[in-house]
Each structure stands twice: as C-alpha cells, then as structure tokens.
Symmetry: C2
Subunit: 395 residues, 2 copies
C-alpha cells in the first residue's frame, strides 16, 4: 500500500535538486533560453532517445560516454545542434569544459539542445551566460520556460509517493514539446528527477515501459525530431523505493506531461483520446490508434468540429490491420455513431456528436470486433495556427 | 520505332468511345455530377483498386462479378457509397438495372462513386437522371468535370501512338483527385480508354507497372481513400498494338494526370519532385521519397517558401532507412545546400534557395550516399486552404 500525491516544485520537488533558467541572448527580448538541473549528489541516469538516424550532437555526445553518473544537465533552446557533424560534438566539449571551469561542483555534465536544425551552436553566447547560473536556487518554473521553443506554456509536474513504512520519495519533471512529435518514439525533451533509491537497470526498465503508454502514445504531427530525449536522474537522497509506487508515480508524471504536450500541440484547440479495442492484438490496436491520431483528414475534421465518422472508418481501413466494415463500431464519448455495419447517423445524432466535438477534450472509440487487442493514443486537431507556426518557424 | 503525340479528345480520343456529364442534382446549383463512358464494342477491363479494408460498395460490386467485359461506366460524385454495407451494393444493382432498362445497348455496366463516406446513395436522383444521358455524344470535358469533388480543375489527357507499320492506337483518360491521396496505393478515380488491341493480362500487367511510378508516387495528404480506382478499358477498335509504345503512351497519360492531381492538391501552391538516390535499394529510396512528400513539417516549410533543409535531413533520418549524416547530400534544383556532412548554408545561399522555392514547380534531391537505390515521388505544400477545405468539407 502506498499513496501518491501531487506536490509543488516540478523538477526541484525531489530532495537535493536545484534548477533555474537564464537568458543567453539566443531568444529575442532577453527571454530565458538556457536552463540547468543540478544535484548535490551524483545521479544515476536512465534515458530514452530519438530513433532518428540524424540524431543531434548532444545525443551522440551522451552515447559516446557510455554509462556514467552526472550531477548537472545544461539545456539550451533555439538551436538543436543537429546536422552539425563532429564540430557539433566538439562544441559541446568546449561548452562543458567552460562549465566545469566555472563550477567546481559540476561532475560529468550532460548537455541537451532544442531548436533549429543545421546551424552551429552559438557557443560564445552560451559560454558567456554560464556564470549567470546560481546552483543554490530552486526555480523550476524558470528552467521549464527556458527550454520552450514553440510551446505556448511551460510544462512541469511532481508527485510524491508515501510508502507504508513511513518513508517517501518524489518524482518531478519538466518537459517541452509542441511540434515535431511522433508517436513512434520517445519524444522531445523531458527531464525527470527523483530522490528514490533505485537501481539503474530497474530505473531504465521502468522508464522504457512507461514511455510506451505516455510519450510514445501521443502525436502532434507525425514528425520525429532529431533531438527527442527523456532523461531520468536519481540521486537516491530519500533512501526510499517501492517498485509499484515508483512505476505509478513515474506514469503520472509522464502521462501528465505527454498530455500537456498534446494540449500545447502547435495550433491545437482540443485533446482527443483514441481508444482502440477489439483488434487482432495490441500491436494492431496501436497501429490503428496512431493512424487516427496522425490522419490529416481526421485532424482537420476535428478542427472543423465536424463529426465526419466516415474519415475515421476510412483511416481504420487504410491502416493495414485486420478490420471489417460489418464488425466495426465508432463512438464519440459514449455516443455510438456506427455500430457493426449499422448506419446510425442522422440529423439528431449529428447535432449531439457536433456538441461533443466542441469540448476541449473528448474521446473517439473504435471497436474493431476482431479480438482483444487494445491501445490508447492521444492526439489533437490541426488548424490554421499549425500551418502559420510551421511555415514561419525560422523567420 | 514509334511516335507518341498528344491529341485532343480526352476519354473520347480512342475510337468508338463516347462520354458526357449531366446534373442529377447531387451537387448544388445544377453542377454536373454524373458521368458516363460508353463504347460501341464491349471492352476488356484492367483495374487497380484501393487497398483500404473499408473499400466502397462500387469496388465490392465490381469484384463480386469476377472477370467480365463491359461497354459502360457510370460515375457519380458527391457520394462515395462507402461504409454502406450490403445495402450499398444492392443500391448499385438497382441503379444498374434502371440503366439497362433505359439503354438496351448497355452491357454489364460498371458503377464508380466518389464523395462523402457513410451516407446511402441518393438512388432516386441518380435513376431519375439516367434518361439525360445521350450515348451518341463525345463530351469528354463534361464527363471530366462531373466527377470532380474538391478538385478546382478537371483532369483530362490523350496520346496517340503511331507505329512503324502505319497503324496507330490512342489512349485517353480522365481523372479526379485533390485530397485523400496516398502514395501507398492506387489513387482516386481515373478512367482510361484505349482502342489498342491488347490482351487483358498484358494490359493489367502494364497498368500495375505504370501505376507504381505515377499514381503510387504522388501524395497530397497521406490519407488513403475507400474508393481509389484506376480503370483501363480497351475496345480493340484500332486493331493496333506494340507493347513498348503502349507502355510509354500509358505512362504519359497516367504521369500527366498524377501530376495534375498534385498540382490540384487541396490548397497546394507548388508541385515538388523528390529525387532520392544513393539509397540501400529502390524500396528504401521509395520510403524516403514518400516520407518527404508526406511530412507535415516539410510541406509547411514549402508553403512558407522557407529553405529549411534541416527538416528534410530530419525526415530522412526519421524514415527508418539506412542513412548517415556524413553521407547525405541535399539540393534544391541544382543548388546543393548540404554536402556529405559539410554545412554549406549561408545567407547568400539561403536567398538563392528561397528564390527556387518561390517557383510553382521545383525539385528537392537527396543523395543518401549508401548504394544505388533510387525513386522519384511527387508532392505539394500544405497551407491554410487545405485546412479550410477539409475542416468544412461536409458543410
């Protein structure tokens, strides 16, 4: 038995973690664009990275080091340090050397970047800003806003697990992501801190597992970034651990942040949960759920608040999984609009369905009527704002 | 040796074919919404249909009949007759019976539909309009506009092949398609007529082959319709045939219409040719080319006329094929912006690249530098109009 309660403090909620955000002049108008997470004690690291073959320099740099402990993560926005070759990796070495030079307490620092692809890191600006960091402050909201790019709000959350023996541990996190989000893999930047006393291998195992039903279940535009990173740091300060409680608390953290990313999907006006059931197996349910959350025709119908269930049926059919017109059922929330071959849709029902689609969040459920496979994915609509943001991103 | 020349007459260019379009009141304002193609002689049929599991009633109806000859194709727009179950197939029987009752010359007629999914066919309107058909007229442009849905222009073309022995044959066609177009399969409606004397099996073989590099190489939105149909009718009237000439003429017809579809892509302002070379094999080149033509981030960058080559690199990396940052090259027309790991991009180059992106048609070439696989795909940009069209489609 354990309790899990939401607490304040974001990425600083777990004992011994410090964080802040400053401006290095990468963004306009002195907006915060550089963040750090610092722990007094060195941390074990579990991580999930993009599967993009053009993975960014920070990921190559991290991987080259092998297994190690760190007590410092430096994150910049506005520049992804991707497609920058060996020079991009060397730029990180230089920045991290300057960092170690400024702060003797920093051990094996890690760097992470997000922003435009194919431009060398503005090294000088970043190095010049390092002395602005104060490792004794806990400003998780500053850190969370410094890592934003096209995000319209910062994303931060923390939970505390209270165990039966009176001990407790916390898991806190911050994330950024509003576009270039693909369900096929770990997504965008998310930094999670915990004071739980957890083995590295167990931590990695649980992180992989929870990623599947959280960050890997969301979609904004079906594009997969070069920089996607989920990083979990554990400093063991609480001395407490319980696997089930840890898994549940981590799920709560990651599920919340994943849905926050969808809610902040570029130009999104609604969050839609796709419940797919009755598929041949869970994998086929996942294929359907992600096909729905990725379909441009479904997404634009959502934006138009048009209960065009035909596009849902068509997308199920096009996804390549086992499916039959006469076995399929489709519902908006609890309103069944197509039932195993039966055309139920009429004007009255259209009105009810359209009312559901005006909600900021609702579910679309598809039962394939084939077997017991199931998966839940999360997506958003696609409107003019998405086009505006992405057509003008660099300018 | 043979000559292939473009000729007038669209779907009526081949000898013995008649066609027209009329209004059955399915579209507003008496716009043409019902077309026919009629041949004096019965025709062999080759066809390629959607792979969507929720395929529409007309496709089920056609498949249920097995191999047969026809001399009449009836096509309606505004209603797809998809997700309508057995009733939808029976509706076709009823319409075709009424057709045979009106015109004794009609043998084994075929029906094809395009429009909204999940609404029963407006049978009465269609049957009432049948007597408006005049089987003695050749109005290919009327037919081509009657099958339009969100198309902004009709699509029609014909070529004549002159063989060395003085004989000749023609291939003409009409098509519709502007959205719901996916590179993964045969796409939208295309009706092709020929008076060539060709074996059914050879005709099907050539149609399959040519479909791969034409309709299967284009993408507007990555969604796959329930109704996609390419149908080739041969009445043998010319008595002439030559395999190479037939293949080339059919390619010219289908390539032209495929690019017309892209040019008319919902809201599209430019047509982009994606030349992928140097892939591990042709299949991997195809995966990359289609990933590029489908990527929302690439499509919105095209719309914004932003030479954001980083998104192209990222999409190549995310496509899952063998690729390396240091082997990749990217060009806009002949302008190389990234060369095997070398960052070439600067302000002067950005200006040149932006000028290329303002053209109504240009190419983006990616050499993966892995082996010799290659594929060419065609796509368009995605702008506000796409959202507008698809958010408001049914209303």
């Amino acid at each position: 038995m354990y309790n899990i309660i939401q607490v304040d403090g974001g990425v600083c909620a777990a004992e011994g973690f410090f964080a802040d955000g400053v401006s290095a002049g990468l963004k306009k108008n002195n907006a915060k664009d550089m963040a750090f997470i610092y722990s007094e004690d060195k941390c074990k690291i579990a991580s999930v990275f993009t599967t993009n073959k053009m993975c960014a320099a920070p990921i190559k740099h991290f991987r080259a080091k092998g297994k190690f402990k760190t007590n410092f993560v430096l994150i910049n926005s506005r520049n992804a340090n991707a497609m920058t070759g060996k020079a991009g990796v060397e730029d990180i070495d230089e920045v991290l050397e300057a960092l170690a030079h400024t702060f003797q307490a920093v051990k094996n620092p890690v760097m992470s970047s997000t922003g435009v692809i194919g431009v060398r890191l503005p090294k000088k600006k970043i190095i010049d800003a390092i002395p602005l960091f104060d490792l004794t402050v806990k400003e998780p909201m500053n850190a969370a806003s410094a890592i934003m790019t096209t995000d319209t709000f910062s994303k931060s959350i923390a939970f505390k697990a209270q165990l039966e023996d009176g001990s407790s541990f916390s898991i806190g996190a911050m994330a950024k992501g509003a576009g270039m989000i693909n369900p096929a893999m770990a997504t965008m930047l998310c930094f999670i801190t915990t004071d739980a006393k957890v083995k590295r291998s167990v931590m990695q195992e649980i992180l992989n597992e929870v990623t599947q039903t959280t960050f890997n279940a969301i979609s904004v535009d079906g594009d997969t970034s070069t920089n996607d990173t989920v990083m979990l740091l554990a400093n063991e300060k609480s001395g407490a651990f319980e696997r089930e409680a840890f898994t549940e608390a981590l799920f709560k953290v990651m599920h919340f942040l994943a849905l926050e990313m969808v809610r902040d999907g570029e130009g999104a006006t609604k969050v839609v949960t796709y419940n797919v059931t009755g598929a041949r197996d869970d994998k086929e349910a996942e294929i359907v759920a992600k096909a729905l959350s990725d379909s441009l025709l479904v997404k634009t119908a959502l934006f138009g608040e048009d209960p065009n269930w035909g596009r849902i049926a068509s997308t199920v059919g096009a996804s390549g999984v086992e499916a039959y017109e006469e076995n399929l059922s489709i519902s908006f929330n609890a309103l069944c609009v197509y039932n195993r071959g039966e055309l139920l849709f009429n004007e009255a029902m259209e009105e009810k369905a359209a009312a559901i689609m005006k909600l900021p969040a609702f579910s679309i459920s598809c039962d394939l009527g084939v077997a017991d496979g199931k998966f839940t994915a999360y997506g958003c609509d696609l409107g003019y704002e998405y086009v505006k943001i992405n057509a003008d991103y660099r300018t």
